[in-house]
Amino acid sequence: MAIITFAQVKGGSGKTTLAKCMVAELVARGGSVAALDLDPNRPLARFFARIPELGGVEVASPDPQRRVSMLVRDLSARHGNVVIDLMGAATNDTQVALALSDLVVVPSQMSEDDFRGGIETWRQIEEAEAVARRPIARAVLLVRTASGAVRPRVEAFLREAYTREGAHVLTAAFGERTVWKEMNYAGWVPPLHERDGNAAANFAAIFDELMALLAASATRSVAAA
């Protein structure tokens, strides 16, 4: 089981793109997955409807009668994985989604605003973990990094800054690539359609690292029980 949330209180950090990739990766690996779209613009359902391989992915959205906790309870009883895409702000949904999650991914670009938002989100996850009294696997994922071999010094600076604040940063980073921008227009999703390409390999590396974190967290959870 895995309830995976993409959270960052600052908007425009890449949550939705990563949520799309995560669902595509899980589908490509034969996993059972549903999604909860908490962005009122509803980008997930629109995107999945365009991709034949993702057309069958169930996407739920809340309304006054169907609360987030209710929807996730229902989805996670029927699917092995639930991917939650939050709105880019510290909303009332944020703390609910965090309390439900097994794994939280905090995307962060290189800006100071992203860093501030990333740390605030990290603190909220820590608080959710303390309240829930169970481990919540979590990681900061640097996004829109340079895809080439040369790493800008701000990336290393930011990794160190996050680490100093106690946040774990994934070794893999989500590289800046045109294919992620074209994904919606072309209906061409690297994790599904071009698994031997660099973009798919990039996301697969992120996925593998996240799954290792999740497995370690599950082990801690069993040991604590």
Binding site: R29, P64, V68, M70, G80, T91, N92, V96
Partner: protein
């Protein structure tokens, strides 16, 4: 020979334990539901953890803070301003009566005019300034 545009999907081995659904009885759902209660959200707002309310999931919070809709006017005609001068002792009496009875100076004048034979409809004697105070 050209390569196929869409390579066939690969099915790598899934991580064990990641495919089972989550039990609906898991305690996390009770905790999440408690965080959705209006008082929990208000507390989170006060603590600074929540700075925006999603209208789709926090409608009752927004609705509770919205001002009550203004009741439709029951008056039969638009109001116009009337300004005149009266002896100061008359105004003092009108003010004293307002303090004692709560009947506004406007309504005291309208009552008096009606007694003097001027048409003043009941609906127009309703003083809307006093609405919502009590």
């Amino acid at each position: 020979m050209t390569a196929p545009r869409r390579p066939g999907l690969q099915l790598p081995r899934l991580e064990p334990g990641l495919t089972a659904p989550t039990s609906p009885d898991d305690p996390r759902f009770g905790l999440a539901a408690s965080l959705e209660r209006p008082e929990a959200v208000r507390e989170a707002v006060a603590a600074g953890r929540v700075r925006a309310i999603n209208a789709e999931t926090g409608l009752e919070l927004i609705a509770a803070r919205a001002p009550a809709p203004k009741p439709a006017s029951r008056r039969t005609a638009p109001e116009v301003a009337l300004s005149t001068k009266v002896p100061d002792y008359v105004l003092r009496q009108l003010r004293r009566r307002y303090a004692e009875s709560g009947i506004t100076i406007r309504n005291q004048v309208l009552f008096a005019l009606r007694l003097a034979g001027v048409e003043v409809r009941d609906e127009d004697l309703h003083d809307e300034r006093r609405r919502g105070r009590g």
